[in-house]
Symmetry: C2
Subunit: 142 residues, 2 copies
């Protein structure tokens, strides 16, 4: 059984390849929706940040084991990482909202490759009290 989605728009970012992504945590870019979806953005600029779901179309491999960044001697399951090389290559990332003009949402802190197909946008609302969060290997290696 497979599930089909149709992209609603495209990422614009300074990153032309996956290797370039993340080298600028303040990278400015935009989510350019197809015009038909413009009305769906109403009210989103009342939030400071947006959750972006996007298709990692530049990732052509998948593995169940991944190496966390900056941790060469550690291997964990892929679902314990944000590795792009996963069974379903869906990115879930957060960016700061700068402005909205029609079907275009300007953002800061984008970490997706230019041209990435966008599947969905949602408002970012923290859902766990910071004191209740534990972050596994992230804590250990950073």
């Amino acid at each position: 059984m497979s599930i089909q989605y149709t992209p609603i728009g495209t990422v614009r970012s300074p990153f032309e390849t996956p290797d370039a992504v993340g080298h600028d945590p303040d990278a400015e870019g935009a989510i350019v929706l197809d015009d038909t979806y413009a009305a769906g953005l109403d009210g989103l600029t009342g939030f400071s940040h947006v959750v972006i779901l996007a298709d990692l179309d530049q990732s052509e491999t998948s593995s169940l084991i991944a190496q966390p960044p900056h941790a060469d001697d550690v291997e964990v399951g892929v679902f314990a990482t944000r590795s792009p090389h996963r069974p379903n290559g869906i990115a879930e990332t957060v960016a700061e909202i700068r402005a909205r003009d029609g079907a275009t949402l300007s953002v800061r802190g984008i970490d997706l490759v230019d041209g990435t197909p966008v599947l969905d946008l949602k408002p970012y609302v923290p859902r766990v009290a910071p004191a209740d969060v534990e972050t596994g290997w992230v804590t250990e290696t950073t």
Copy 2:
């Protein structure tokens, strides 16, 4: 252009219909992956919470305008909400990790219907300092 994904597993929860979801913020349930993906869970229990991406297969309608919960007189764009009635019905939700046994991850605070197809799991890591977050209509209506 459409993008295809194959579910990696299924949600088990006490909620048999969409209307029942959310009435128990401490609801216990599980993510039951297909056995072939079990190794992908290694290391995930080092984190306190998991991000679940799932296909909202019980939602058969889509609208660009949505009403926030508990706000009958407010209408906003669907991308400013977590409404299940959206162009691509992908849920992005967070649950507390209780235990892992093989390909099964037991969780608390699940807000998905029993039987929902799971697309991806990722570790929950807060990515925005709480003081920097603004939450639009959520602040105004709760």
